[in-house]
Every structure is written in C-alpha cells, then in structure tokens.
Subunit: 220 residues, 2 copies
Amino acid sequence: MVLTTAEENYLKAIYHLSDGGTKSVSTNDVAAQIKTKAASVSDMLRKLGEKEVIEYRKYYGVNITEEGKKRALQTIRKHRLWEVFLVDKLQFAWDEVHEVAEELEHIQSPLLIQRLDEFLNYPKFDPHGDPIPDEFGDVRARPRVALIEMDIDQSGQIVAVKDSSAAFLKYLDKVGAYIGARIKVLDKVEFDGSMEILVDQKKTLFMSKDVAANILAIQS
Amino acid sequence: MVLTTAEENYLKAIYHLSDGGTKSVSTNDVAAQIKTKAASVSDMLRKLGEKEVIEYRKYYGVNITEEGKKRALQTIRKHRLWEVFLVDKLQFAWDEVHEVAEELEHIQSPLLIQRLDEFLNYPKFDPHGDPIPDEFGDVRARPRVALIEMDIDQSGQIVAVKDSSAAFLKYLDKVGAYIGARIKVLDKVEFDGSMEILVDQKKTLFMSKDVAANILAIQS
DNA sequence: TTACGGTTTTAGTCTTGACTAAAAATAAAA
DNA sequence: TTTTATTTTTAGTCAAGACTAAAACCGTAA
C-alpha cells in the first residue's frame, strides 16, 4: 500500500503530535500543525483511516496504528538522514536543512536510503540531535547527560536545560549556547569545576560549574 | 514564475524531442514521450504557452522559447548531477539511477544544486556520458574520439559507433561493449594495433584495430 | 435539561493533471 | 476539388487535495 506525499505528511504530523503514538490527536491540532483547515483534515483522516494507518472515530480524534507508526518512522528516518547529508557533506547550516529535507524525505527508493545511510556511516542522530530510527523503525533512546559530566575532547549537542528560568535562558542566548548548539569540551578546570567549551566549531565559551550542571547534552 | 513537476517534465520532453530547441515538436510525439494521451498534452501545451516557455500554435506543434530552453536545461542539469551522485557516491549501477534521478531532479533548492555540484567536484558528464549543463544552461560540446586514439590507462565511455551496420552492432552487443559502457584502455599492442579494454570495471575485452577505430568514446 | 460555544464534519467548489469520446482541423489521395 | 485518413483540440469526467460555508456534534454552564 502506497502513501502519497500529502498522506505521509499528515501521518508524520500525527505521529509527532501524539508523542510517538501515545496520545490521541484532535483534528484541530493536525490542522494547525500542517497549516491547513480542519475541513481538509477531516477528509484526509477518513482516507488514512481506510488505509488503516490511523484509527479514526469521528469527533473523537485519531490514534496512530502500529502500521502507521512504522510508516511515520520511515519518513522521519529519511528526513533525518537527508539532514545529516546536507550538513555533513554539503556544508549546510542547520537552520537551512529543514525545508529541503522536507522535500527529499518523499523520494521513493529503499535502495537510495540504504545506500545513503551507509555513505553517512550509519549516523544515530540528525544535526539537531534528534535520533534517527533504524530501517525497522526502532529508535535508540537518547541518553542525555549534564554538560558537567562530559569529558575533555568529547563532542555533543545541547538539547535541553534543567533550569529553564527566563534569566538562565537569556544568559544562554547571550553567550550563544542555544538549544541545538554543537559543542565540544576543550578543557575542565579541576579547581572550580568550570569548563571551556567550543560552540559550533568556532566560538570558545567559559562556563561555571553551576551553568554546566544545568545544561543537558547528547554525546556524539 | 514557478513550474510544477508535471510542467518541468513536459518541458524536458519537448527539449529532448526538439533536439535542443532546433526542431518543432508535435502533440503526438510529446504524448508518446511522456506516456500520456494527446488530449492531456494539448491542455498542458496551452498552459506552457501562457507561461511563455513554449510557442504554441494550435495544430502546428510547439517550439521551445529561450526561457523554456533555460528551464529545461536547469532540470537536465539537476537530473545529471544527481545521477553522478548516485553512481559515484552511493555505488549505484548506471542503469539503476534514472528513475530515482527523475524524482530528485524536481527538488527545489538552488543552494542544494550548487553545493552538490561542488561536492561532486564540478563533473562535466553524467554516468551515461551525457554532458551536464552549467548553471547558466551552457553545455560544453562533447569531444568524441575513436577508441583507437585513446592512450593506455585513459578512461571514458562509449557514446557512438561510426559503422552502425547490424552486423557490427550485433558483434558489440555480443562482446558487451554497448553504447554507454564505461571503458578503460588497459593495453595497446603495437604490432597489430589491437587493444585490451576494461568494460564497466569488470570485464576485459580484446578488440582489433578495425573494431577500435569504429567505436567513438568520450574521455573522462 | 436545555442552551451555548467551540470543534468537527458535511456539502459543495476549485485547481491540477489525467482520462474518453466526439468534434474540428490538417494533410494526403482520388 | 472533394473525400478520406490522421492528428489535434474541445468538452465533459474523475481523483487528489485544498478551500468556504453551513450543519452537526460534544461538553459545559445555567
């Protein structure tokens, strides 16, 4: 059973909105996500229901089925692999990749994706730090570690903060350590626990133990 | 002015059928090329005429305009660059690339194509030996040389034959030296002018001076 | 229990790009 | 010059995927 580009996009949106299939999703939410009108969504949900990739009860929102989840993860896998390709091989910046990957993810060729995965050396995370599902749709849980726990020379990416107070976020923004930033530990000072961090391969940043303990990263 | 995927495909077909814009093309020819019906073509020609990428006179076929030629060459450029990518980077065989490239060529991103070109090191020919237009649509004329003229260790691709008699073509087919085959000169025998040729990186072929003089190749 | 506001669905329309069947135009033959 | 064969166009449909407007439904508050 083949899905159109539009159907793939709906399914992906539903997957994301449902937190990987754990919650049910309303028509309006899908409409907002896809940037379309609720009426169009109703129509599409009926079709996706017939194809059995979602379970659709009129007026009660949708739940994604196992088959649907598998399909959505395939699309997400393709999207993220292309993002890695664009950043690692074609020197795109991360904020430039999304739209292009949004188009590339709909290319139909299992061989292409298999070979691309191989060419990229089987990456586990995309440039935003999101995990890349394997060909069976399995997603490795992403272990998050406090920046303070990372060793010298380790690379990674900032994915979240523990203390999300406005003041702290403002500080992060000011020094350029935004969510998504790729970082590398250059040095750790034994004396006060402070760290020297390379951000986006160009900017060096000094941060106190307290700051470094509040930032969560994934290692790569 | 933006062209849809379907419009790009029509334009490309017209470009090819018109021999690069030198001949006019009939509705039926386009229908055969696109594998669609003449009625559908009529409709599309009207639309392409309004967009001024072709000159359309009812019942008298179409001529591609300068603007249309430029657009067609952009699409051809994208197609051929992707083919190079698939063969050179993803280890596709040259007869596996066409369909996938047919999808990839419609991805809209000038930056993507510019970076891809750079990543592939500005290739001048695709895996079938067809020239890749530059970003302005200029196509470098492809210098063809008789196989017999090539030096040892030179690589290239068979693009045509001088003597296209059935007997000769049959012979070529039998030994596996088809049009499009990638070849490399392994050895030239001074004594009788015969050559040893590596075909598609796997098969070694011995051919007489007379045969080698009848085969035209491009060098790469 | 009924009324109301918000959500969702239905009904009907539009555009793109395909189709078939029929009409019209051109080209070739008598 | 008229007839005939071929090509091309028009007219009318269809499916996908969007839209608007109107109707139907749900949950909550009176």
